[in-house]
Symmetry: C2
């Protein structure tokens, strides 16, 4: 009896075949990886990129030590340490029953698993590099994903105002009229209104969830997500049965930014989660827009912050939003090299990881204008590279690791 | 009997002495010039700069022909033609009774005439170069003008909304609290609210009028302007008895921008006159801010336009407005040369004065990015250098001359 990953190859083919037409070993392995690694796991990304999903899984199942796997992934010595840590967090999750359950559950809900080889793979997410998802679980119409190559993400506060919901509705309907698919996160408030208006305009809309697509979140949007499944798609990086966590919401945001060609924030408080999506768009070099609102409304404060400090375009209607998407007009962008990169390096050289420094001090040390320093700090803060403390700016501490799932 | 300008020197001294302590011949001559030349008359500016106000006036009174005056002003041959035209529009106004009446009326209303030699001359207006006013007529407290070196212009739509007036009030009071004088144009709506809130906060406020300060305009703001005179100042470039015209409103706007260190537009329709003030601020290199508002409000459309296309900072409170004013912090601005100048030349080289060209075409011809072309076009449009036609962009026609006063 032929075996794959230590189980009957026929079972692997049956399980994989129920969710995908692609190579069964790869599909099964990617399903397993999406059970094992948290979204955005850089080490898993590097390992799968170097060995392929199936061989990488086999190495894990064979109990290969980090020191033997690492050289096949990257010559950097740090990879051994990274892999050692990664194996520690992956091993408790390397459970065949979980993979089997994820695939069975997916088949039951008519969920498809797509891989970078799939025709419907949203190629935009490949720009995430080592953070590219290893697989995507899709509920709904796979052909809807083809519309992502002409799509705009509309995101915003859960606690939206009537103004915000009105603007979201107009924006979504207007962009659908102009041929754009609408990407959002299915949350209450702005997200929900964006999806709803797209559906009402007979447009294509794609919802990206932080948890498995077998169980819609938030539950109050069960009917809305059911309707999205009928003509669009509901997508997640995590398998069926996996609940959303704070980490997964943040990683979900990177998918929203990466899947669409531009991100628009419609309403956002000063510390809204939508600013995280905006940050991902900026990191990816995707156009970012924000809709202004009354300065007396706390729900617009985050939008004004994006326009003021993070270079977001001020967009007031669907036309201006659509203009953000790069067109086929020759751009000659390369002929005018951006001065930002070298200035950014000069600035980063002056920021300490121990002593906070005021912007004026950094301007003096870097020889950049104060206005330039503010603009660069804004961008670096959005990218998570620096943080502002009471007495000034510091390099950001390394990102907190998500604890292994209990 | 000594004569000055063909009249009794004692009368000149008496008339001038009633409105100024500076040199009587210069004061009288500048009073005469402000009767003769429309605000912003470039040729008058060049003539007075080259010969002095008194000698320039004497040349006119002596009936010197353009060909004999021109070489003393500028070696450029064009100056003969410019002066010939200018003499034609000045001569009908070279009437001593008008000057005498302007000065007598000024003295009656306790109006002071200040010149670039006066201690209270707002030095910011000197940045206007050949368009610097030849004299300013001031009603109110001359020492108030000293506060202009720490001042912000708050301007906006006459047809302001409740939102706009609320924001204008908060902004004006907040800036007064931070030690800024408030400059505005005394119009209904935003301007009036800005002055009013400054007075209520015991701040210094300066109103710049398009007509003579003997007759307050608009008449509905008579009481407000009377209160401004008590602690601040009401200023005009034109003498008593001269009514406002469209041209004078536009030239008045340049004074508002030049007198203050930053200009903030609080509410403005798509084609509001406040955008003209904003354009002057940009031309002068002064910081420009605009307050966002609901995208559903036509009264905020001009503000969003400024933020979107003209590089205005998005400002939402008095702190952010105050931040626009350059401080004493070393800026090192010269170390990072702006790429705009050379890009602007490259773009202007591709814009025709006869055939309109689309932005994408201009991008192709200039080798600049489309986004860069849009940004530069916006700035050039605001400066009046280019205009948008149905089929694209063209160089702006030469400015229309104001007809001589009937």
């Amino acid at each position: 009896m032929t075996q794959l990953f230590g189980i009957d190859a026929a079972e692997v083919r049956a399980l994989a075949g129920a969710v995908s037409d692609e190579d069964a070993a790869d599909v099964f392995a990617r399903a397993a990886w999406s059970c094992i690694a948290e979204p955005g796991d850089r080490v898993a990304g590097a390992l799968v990129a170097a060995l392929g999903a199936a061989d990488a899984l086999s190495a894990l199942l064979a109990g290969e030590p980090a020191a033997s796997i690492a050289p096949r992934v990257d010559v950097e010595e740090r990879m051994v340490a990274d892999l050692t840590q990664a194996l520690e967090r992956w091993m408790p999750r390397l459970l065949l029953p979980d993979v089997r359950r994820a695939l069975t559950q997916a088949a039951r809900f008519r969920v498809r698993l797509i891989t970078p080889d799939s025709e419907s793979w949203p190629t935009g997410v490949n720009d995430l590099g080592a953070h590219t998802p290893l697989a995507l679980w899709v509920r709904g119409e796979l052909p809807a994903l083809a519309h992502l190559d002409r799509s705009i993400a509309l995101v915003g506060a859960r606690a939206a105002t009537g103004y915000g919901e009105h603007v979201a509705m107009e924006a979504s309907a207007g962009l659908v009229d102009r041929g754009y698919a609408i990407v959002s996160g299915a949350a209450y408030g702005i997200d929900g209104m964006a999806h709803r208006a797209a559906l009402a305009s007979k447009g294509v809309t794609v919802a990206v969830l932080a948890g498995g697509v077998d169980r819609f979140y938030p539950s109050g949007h069960d009917a809305l997500l059911t309707r999205i499944v009928e003509s669009g798609a509901v997508v997640s990086e995590v398998p069926c049965g996996i609940p959303p966590t704070k980490w997964r919401f943040l990683q979900r945001n990177r998918l929203i930014a990466a899947m669409s060609q531009a991100t628009i924030v419609l309403e956002a408080g000063w510390r809204s989660g939508s600013l995280n999506t905006a940050g991902h768009a900026v990191s990816l070099g995707r156009p970012l827009g924000a809709v202004p609102g009354p300065v007396t409304s706390a729900a617009s404060a985050g939008c004004h912050r994006l326009i003021r400090n993070y270079g977001a375009a001020c967009v007031t209607n669907a036309d201006e939003m659509a203009e953000l998407v790069p067109t086929d007009v020759p751009m000659f962008r390369d002929e005018v090299p951006s001065p930002h990169h070298s200035e950014q390096s000069r600035l980063l050289d002056t920021i300490s990881d121990r002593a906070p420094r005021a912007a004026a001090d950094l301007a003096k040390r870097s020889g950049l204008s104060l206005a330039g320093v503010h603009a660069l700090l804004g961008r670096l803060e959005l990218e998570g590279a620096v943080v502002e403390r009471d007495r000034g700016w510091m390099l950001a501490p390394p990102p907190k690791k998500e604890k292994p799932l209990a």
